[in-house]
Amino acid sequence: MGEVKKHDTPLMDELKSGPWPSFVDDIYSYAEKHKKQAGFDIMGQMELSYKNKETHWKHGGIVGVFGYGGGVIGRYSDQQEKFPAIWAFHTVRVNQPAAKWYHSSALRKLCDLWDHRGSGIMNLHGSTGDIILLGTVTEQLEYIFYDLTHQLNMDLGGSGSNLRTPECCMGMSRCEWSCIDTQDMIHEFTNQFQDELHRPAFPYKFKIKISGCPNDCVAAIARSDFSIIGTWRDDIRIDQEAVRAYVGGELKPNAGAHSDRDWGPFDIKKEVIDLCPTKCMHWDEGQKKLYINNAECNRCMHCINVMPEALRPGLDTGATILMGAKAPILEGAQLSTVIIPFIKTEPPYDNIKNLIYKVWDYWMENGKNRERLGETIQRIGLNRFIVDVLGLKPLPQHVREPRSNPYIFWKEEEVEGGWTRDVAEFRKRHPA
């Protein structure tokens, strides 16, 4: 920490003004305070990118810690001379605790570690959910890993063709709607699958995310190959008293989410009954009573969201399991598809673990290189995936609608007489 050199960064400096927290100010303050050349160099290299609108990182770079196949993203500058402090600028992915709760005592240790062994720059959190430590050199990697495991009781997250760091919504820790214990499940799965998380053996990446209810606050359905979403099978619980309080204007609709605009007085008909997607609700103005035809409810959460004091999910809770979400690369984006409409979630969640193992077995055997699970499902057909691969019953719940084309791939055993026919016999009946 001797002489440090600040580069001229007029473009980056433009990002200091304005109300939103400025990462430029933050990094410069840090670099100056800690006399970290890496901080100045990274700003310098970014300035260059801002000028010619191209990244100055080289392609890839395979680095890691012993015995692990992931958790570190190698990165090298293509401006080695100009910015020597960031000649290497690897990322370390650290597995976050479930739902990202921390105590300052743990966080501070992490900061100490990173001041010492890295750039001091980080992301809280990465898009997958990891703690991202941004920028270190190859030699530090084993030390970082040592400190993490020995001092912080922490471990690396995933990268490469393996299980990625599982992630969940805050669930039961703070949310009244969580139908399942998302944090316990994520913790359990993460530990169960440590080997798959650290040692790439899959055709491509695999992500597990868990939301406690259909609001899906961890975007499981959009971002995870294996999405678990809490739900319930019985009736929405109603506190009629509280419903009346909403109708009477004593309680704020949607818990006050619309407080800064005058949307007029709460209108239960317009704001709840008419917006219910299944039209299964009825407000009896005379009785001042809310009725829900729960058999028709599709658990969209709207009514519960609008009147959280009055309505709550039922008590027969469990999860819907969906599979296959992914970003566009290669074949186009996918959302996850319903595979098990309702599964019970009792620790240690052996049923779900078994399902995951089943999926992996098949996918590892049959998935093509860099083929996400969703793409495998599309390639072999959702019907075959459900029936032949998972041994489940095909259900109307699996699809939004049945096929409109009549192009059915009948199996030989389904067709009386099989497929072998005799041409001569046929021509006896039907001379050409």
């Binding site: 359905i221 979403i229 099978r233 299944t278 039209k279 058999a295 028709e296 599709n298 658990r299 969209c300 969906l322 996918q334 959302l335 598809t337 319903v338 098990i340 409409p341 309702f342 599964i343 019970k344 009792e346 052996d350 049923n351 779900i352 078994n354 399902l355 089943k358 599309q378 057909g381 959702l382 019907n383 075959r384 459900i386 029936v387 019953k393 095909p394 109307p396 719940q397 699996h398 699809v399 939004r400 609608e401 049945p402 096929r403 409109s404 084309n405 009549p406 192009y407 059915i408 791939f409 009948w410 030989e412 067709v415 007489g417 497929w419 026919r421 041409v423 046929f426 039907h430 050409a432």
Partner: protein, 381 residues
Amino acid sequence: KPMENRITDIGPPHYWQFLPPVIQRNYGKWKSHEIIQPGVIKYKAESGEVVYAVRCGTPRLETTDYVREICEIADKYCDGYVRWTTRNNVEFHVTDEEKLRALLEDLKSRKHPGGSYKYPVGGTGASVTNIVHTQGWIHCHTPAIDASGVVKAIMDEIFDYFGSHKLPAQVRMALACCLNMCGAVHCSDIAVVGIHRKPPLVEDERLEKVCEIPLVIASCPLGAIKPATAEVGGEKKKTVRVNVDRCMFCGNCYTMCPAMPISDGQGDGIAIVVGGKVSNRISPPKFSKVVIPYIPNEPPRWPTTVKWIKKILETYSKHANKYERVGDWIERIGWERFFELTEIPFTWHLIDDYRLAYDTYRTSVHFKFTSHVETVTEIEY
């Protein structure tokens, strides 16, 4: 001497000469209409003139005698004018109510020897109108099923819905005897389609003589056909082989090549598709979806097919809202509820695995807990 004084390319006769005078006078100037009873539509023109259209079902497959009898009726009541609808019903037009009553009486009285009506009146409004259909065994070379016979069997059973207005909305039914779907089966409320389920036979002996092999290969939408050579009676013949695991029984190869017959009495049968529509009313036009992948071919009266169609029709009739087409009803209640209410078993065949399949996957947790859903507690590994 048919080649003498050859006249060609004259096109169809001009329609104007066939329009009844009242139609000519009010052409483009109609004001409104009223269906005064099933099968009878009263049109009012801006001029104040009125015309009654009387619609009758026909079997479409008919003889010149049947048509002559229509001419006779047209002459008697309509100055000889008559028209057919886009769904093979015949329409008579009269301008006064007295003639209308007489015409209706007359039509009712005309029967075939077996007792069937020749010209049943109906097909308007919230009814099942005529079933649009195709050739079947009376004329085509690719059918999996008959056409007119199946239609007769179905219409006999639901006849009451043809001559009445008791459904929630119009129900458009269609039948096609193979996947070529010569009609609008793919956009019908309820439809029947003949399907093959065995891969084509390959007549090695004959193939190279009667088919152009490159065209045959190109004809398969799935590339399941490959060129091959076979020894037939000591001779080497160019032929093809079908990868039966990739065949979806579309029959297109047979269309291109007579040496690849696909029909099979054992394998062929019926699929039922529902929920399609054509009109833009309320909801946009949409495709029918396969709900029963296979029913055995059961001539002469196809009882299983008839049973399911009636079941679907009456379940719809019981549960749908006024103005709600079959497909709109199902979308409102959800397909899972449709399968529950109709008691149609849901099988793997119904899950799409063709080109646009992904767009049919259920990518939300929006579903209902119908009887199909079991609570899963254990999974074996």
